[in-house]
């Protein structure tokens, strides 16, 4: 709903823009080229004569002519006319003087009192084309005399229908030069720069298209830009490299081709190909070549300006309709901007078609070239943005691919690690199973059988023997357990040890205070490490039970530092005798713990003994 409202507002704005632009172009509320305030010549005499200089103008009949003079309106049928203006000077001027001709078609030569002061180009065929170039001829004031003076203008056109002479300004050079420079800048210099930019853009886009042939849009727009640039040449090239008729044909064709390519560009840009319309447009472009067959200028102007250009209005209307439909459908800002550019071209194009068909004043000059500024800016920006977007996307994709590869690599590494560990576990587990089978069938089985046999007898000797046998079995169990990969987990190792001690402690009535906490869940001890730790713990516990005379043993754990954990076994008995503490048992334990990369600390007094195992979280 909101979108619809926005669309309506935007289309209303567009209509307003269209109306404003039409008003500016057709009603001219603002004068862009203010004429010089002095020296205007509105009335002049003319004569049809092929004379090369005023000296040859003998026996000539002069007729009155109001300026501006559009030859097609004043029914001039020749290619060359002479204009003459007589005037009186009461004072000898001292400043450099000048004749300013804001608009003339096609070529002019200027004479002051019969002396040539300049001309705008060659009068030989093909005649120099100055229809878009203002002219300023400066001359020394010495050419003028007090009293009567004469200005002669020789004006020639490629065809009589194209001849044109706007008002003439005769004044000191300084008072005319600004008007001339300003007009020349707007009508010529700006267009030269614009055309240069368009050509560069066309080449860049052609390069992009060459590298990405499937991206037709770059090729289409490059071609359109190229045709438009060639069309613009007519606005500032004076000496043309071919006949006037061919040059004009080429001029018509390039405009037609440019306009015909625009809807195709729009289709591609908005991803809405219209094959039938496009085929028709390409057909139209080819058909345009028939203009070269025109016999004379009249034929060329009829088929070119009237027939061929009329289609351009149709294409413009089609493109506008298509874009409005697209805009209503998608409402993207892109479609709106294309619409804006398209409308500008349509209004300017309509103006120029009216001008060339003599249905509108010729003195405004052609203006479609200016619509290239918004059109080329918007379209080029879209294409550059599209190109940058695709570069960015490629870069993003490549980064994401890199990341994926890296992730996959990491996954593979993890999987490999896991596989390696699984295999290691499998080997260990097979080894354990083999040992267990051996135990079951061999010594272990025998021991268990022996123990169960002795269980039936209750006298002292049997009891002692049973006890010894059970210790053997327990020790075997410990060796087997140490092979279990789960024993690399210290809490589980301690838990398993506690289970072994439970019966021993119960038999001698010692209470066990179990304070296991703060241990890391993942330690990575090998089975060899585990066995060292298990045997040490067993030895410490056996010593405490056998020798300390305690009634309570505390087993506590904690974090020693960032890399080490601590297992502390405390009894509250009589403490160690001096020779006991450095005896073989302790040396053995110290050695075992050093094998894991840890240290064993003994602290004994008459209050009891504390033995600390400081173990690395990651063993060597």
């Amino acid at each position: 709903m909101r979108d619809q409202k926005k669309q309506i507002v935007m289309l209303a704005l567009l209509t307003l823009f269209l109306a404003g632009l039409s008003y500016l172009i057709f009603w001219r509320p603002i004068v862009i080229f203010t004429p010089p305030s002095i020296g205007v010549i509105n009335l002049i005499k003319f004569s049809e004569h092929q004379a090369r200089s005023p000296a040859q103008l003998t026996n000539v009949t002069w007729q009155q002519q109001k300026l501006p003079d559009d030859w097609s309106k004043s029914a001039k049928k020749a290619n060359q006319y002479w204009y003459r203006h007589n005037f009186e000077l009461l004072q000898q001027p001292t400043q450099t003087m000048a004749i300013y001709l804001p608009l003339i078609s096609h070529n002019v030569a200027v004479y002051i009192n019969g002396i040539w002061v300049g001309q705008s180009g060659s009068f030989r065929s093909p005649i120099a084309r100055n229809h878009n170039l203002p002219q300023l001829f400066a001359f020394s004031p010495k050419l003028l005399t007090l009293g009567s003076n004469q200005i002669h203008l020789k004006v020639a056109a490629a065809s009589p229908a194209q001849g044109l002479l706007d008002r003439i300004y005769f004044a000191p050079y300084q008072q005319l030069v600004n008007a001339y420079t300003y007009k020349k800048w707007i009508r010529v210099d700006l267009i030269i720069w614009l055309t240069g930019a368009m050509l560069v853009m066309a080449i860049v886009l052609a390069g992009i298209w060459y590298c990405r042939r499937h991206d037709m849009i770059y090729g289409i727009f490059s071609l359109a830009l190229f045709f438009w640039s060639v069309h613009n040449l007519n606005l500032f090239i004076v000496d043309i490299p071919m006949s006037s008729k061919h040059w004009q044909t080429l001029n018509m064709l390039t405009l037609g081709w440019t306009i015909a390519l625009m809807p195709i560009y729009g289709h591609h840009f908005l991803a809405q190909p219209q094959p039938t319309v496009e085929r028709f447009l390409y057909g139209y472009c080819l058909a345009g070549l028939l203009l070269f067959l025109a016999h004379n200028d009249q034929q060329l102007f009829f088929y070119g300006y009237l027939v061929w250009y009329s289609f351009l209005i149709l294409f413009g209307l089609y493109a506008t309709g298509f874009l409005i439909r697209m805009y209503l459908h998608q409402a993207t800002s892109d479609a709106f901007f294309i619409l804006l550019a398209c409308t500008t071209m349509l209004v300017c194009g309509l103006h120029d078609i009216l001008v060339v068909n003599r249905l509108w004043s010729r003195f405004d000059g052609l203006i479609i070239q200016y619509s290239a500024i918004p059109t080329v800016t918007i379209f080029s920006w879209f294409l550059i943005r599209r190109f940058i977007d695709s570069l960015n996307t490629a870069e993003r994709l490549s980064k994401s691919l890199d990341l994926q590869v890296k992730q996959k690599q990491q996954q593979l590494e993890v999987q490999y690690q896991s596989l390696y560990l699984t295999q290691k576990k499998l080997v260990l587990s097979q080894e354990r199973e083999r040992m267990m089978r051996d135990m079951h069938d061999g010594i272990g089985g025998q021991l268990i059988a022996l123990a169960s046999l002795f269980n039936q007898r209750n006298d002292d000797l049997f009891s002692q023997a049973r006890h010894k046998i059970r210790n053997c079995i327990n020790d075997l169990h410990m060796v087997i357990d140490s092979l279990d990969p789960l024993m690399n987990n210290l809490p589980t190792l301690l838990g398993t040890m506690r289970l072994r001690w439970a019966e021993q402690l119960e038999n001698v009535n010692i209470k066990l205070d179990w304070q296991i906490k703060d241990l890391p869940e993942a330690t990575d001890y090998s089975s060899q490490h585990s066995l060292h730790i298990m045997r040490t713990l067993q030895e410490v516990m056996t010593n405490a039970i056998k020798h300390s005379g305690t009634t309570k043993i505390t087993v506590a754990t904690g974090i020693h530092d960032t890399q080490h954990v601590l297992i502390r076994i405390t009894d509250y008995g009589r403490g160690l005798s001096k020779n006991h503490s450095d005896g073989r048992g302790f040396n053995n334990m110290t050695w075992r713990i050093s094998q894991v990369g840890g240290t064993l600390m003994i602290n004994s007094s008459s209050q009891g003994t504390e033995i600390c195992l400081i173990l690395p979280q990651t063993p060597h």
Binding site: S429, R432, G444, I448, S452, D484, P491
Partner: protein, 218 residues
Amino acid sequence: MTKISVTLVEDDSEIRQYLIDIIGNSGDLVLLDAAANLSDASLALKHHRPDVLLVDLGLPDGSGIELIKQIHANRLDTLAMVISGFSDQRTVFEALEAGAQGYILKHDDSQKITQAIALMLAGGSPISPLIARLMLNKFTQPAIENPQLTLQLIEALTTRQEKILLFVSQGFSSQEIAQKLNISYYTVTTHIKNIYGKLQVNSRAEAIFEAHKFGLLK
């Protein structure tokens, strides 16, 4: 009071005799059969439907786990108890997964063995630190323990059950755990029993999944 009927399966004759004596001396138990191999035991199980099956895992003609599976397959009310010698705790764990309710060690004295049977009959489930750790791994890292398994666990542990298993794996007794968590001893044993139940459900689902995967079931 009706005595608890027992079927014993043990291939070592001396141990078998040792256990027969223990059962005989116990006031509450009555021995129905004493088999030395899987096939005899299987028949005995089917015909006599004992209250308790005491089963050794390493039998000459197969694994005792097969017998435990038969209990479930034949919908018997028999409680299975594993006799563990040097068969390690992983094998015991497999038996627990298959549906065993407890285990005893062959070299335990008679008192301990009768206590373990009594505990099982009273609804308790013995558990060791290593078995608790295996269970934790099974529930919390099934993919690491079994990389081929992509099946989601049907039954997951509650936070409390996980905590209890962690304490067991660290060597704490049920009483100590009850104190630490400020719950009753019976709640702890009930949780452990429930964990056994979940383990068995998952293990059956896993078996079905594997069978489907290898095309054994259609």
